[in-house]
């Protein structure tokens, strides 16, 4: 939701379903993006601040920070361990012709436990398949697809930067504009280190609510 021209906020509710280990509500998160500069520049910065009130059963890995694998006990046990986390990201993005490039540097702090500051990163490049828009409606034409590659991972924390426990991924990404207001995005991340999962699948569907006021 665009609150002002320079501030957008999003609220997420999370839950988890597993095969055999249980289900549960895992919490909520509030994301805020602040764009400090009025115009677009060669490199445009965006400050991202996220507050999370989640429990240890959360499986959504929107970003990777710190080090070590996720805990895999029963969901009922994990939901009792609450965490309040504050995450800050510096997002730098550039448009180079038909290419879009972005780099994120992430710092996360668990406010419930003293785990120090955890660090992560994400870099990506994306390209529209169709340079021009057709005059007719089409759903499967090149202009509705964006393809790209992302690399993301955790760098450790102020408690330690053990390289062996770091998780790093590289992922091809495809985004499809399903309709005028909705987009489907999917990626498969391939783990690059022994601590990384072999594959990390991310699927997202976004729908833009039409809010229109006429004179």
């Amino acid at each position: 939701m665009g609150l002002t021209g320079w501030w957008t906020a999003e609220l997420y509710l999370e839950s988890v379903t597993t095969r055999g280990a249980g289900n549960g509500f895992t919490g909520w998160r509030l994301e805020n993006r602040f764009r400090p500069l009025r115009d677009e520049h060669r490199v445009t910065p965006v400050l991202y601040v996220e507050y999370e009130s989640i429990n240890e059963a959360s499986r959504i890995q929107k970003e990777i920070v710190g080090s070590g694998p996720l805990p895999f006990e029963r969901i009922a046990e994990l939901t009792e361990e609450h965490a309040h986390e504050l995450e800050v990201k510096l997002i730098l993005s550039s448009a180079l012709g038909a290419w879009n490039v972005s780099e994120n540097f992430i710092v996360e702090r668990n406010l419930t436990e003293s785990e120090g500051f955890e660090f992560g990163y994400s870099v990506g490049v994306a390209h529209h398949l169709g340079a021009l828009a057709r005059g007719t409606a089409c759903r499967l034409c090149p202009e509705t697809f964006v393809v790209g590659v992302e690399a993301y991972g955790g760098l450790g924390s102020t408690e330690g930067f053990a390289r062996r426990e770091q998780r790093h991924y590289v992922a091809p990404v495809v985004s499809w504009r399903v309709s005028d207001r909705s987009t489907l995005k999917a990626s498969v991340g391939f783990g690059l280190t022994s601590s990384s999962d072999h594959a990390l699948v991310r699927v997202g569907y976004a729908y833009e609510l039409p809010v229109r006021r006429h004179r």
Binding site: W6, H128, A133
Partner: protein, 159 residues
């Protein structure tokens, strides 16, 4: 920790307060939002491709009509793009504004679109101005004929 729910509450309250702030005044008084000279001088590579305006129209419906209305005549959220103050601006100026956005007025950035698609949007905005002019000229002509004084003989009756 009690401080964490306080942070969340502060963010939520802050969002509500900022949502209530008017932005229209800032938008209408936005005369200093101008492209650098080099950007303003850019020429639309699709200028002679009027067939490309149809694609621009589709993009406009998808990306811009929500705020600027389907015929670009503006809404309470965004200005009328057919008016002369907008149409007098160079293609490069419009392209830069579409690309750059303006956080002060709530105009989003469209730099994620390929450059040619942004030029298609410029082409469509121009075509809307032309359509409007043509339509109003036709309307005026029709009105003149329809409401012509009864005493004035038409060419057909005199012939």
């Amino acid at each position: 920790m009690r401080v964490t729910p306080m942070i969340a509450a502060a963010l939520l309250v802050g969002s509500i307060v900022l949502r209530a702030q008017p932005t229209r005044g800032a938008r209408d008084q936005n005369t200093r939002w101008m492209a650098p000279a080099a950007e303003s001088a850019k020429v639309n590579p699709l200028t002679n491709r009027s067939d490309m305006a149809a694609g621009g129209k589709k993009l406009f419906q998808q990306r811009c009509a929500m705020c600027h209305a389907e015929d670009a005549s503006g809404t309470t959220d965004a200005p009328d793009l057919t008016r002369s103050t907008v149409q007098r601006q160079s293609d490069g100026q419009l392209f830069w504004k579409i690309t750059s956005g303006n956080t002060r007025t709530g105009m989003p950035t469209f730099s994620f679109l390929p450059p040619l698609q942004r030029w298609q949007l410029v082409l469509y905005i121009r075509s809307q101005s032309d359509n409007r002019t043509t339509t109003s000229a036709v309307d005026q002509l029709t009105r003149r004929v329809r409401y012509a004084p009864q005493s004035a003989p038409s060419r057909q009756t005199s012939d």
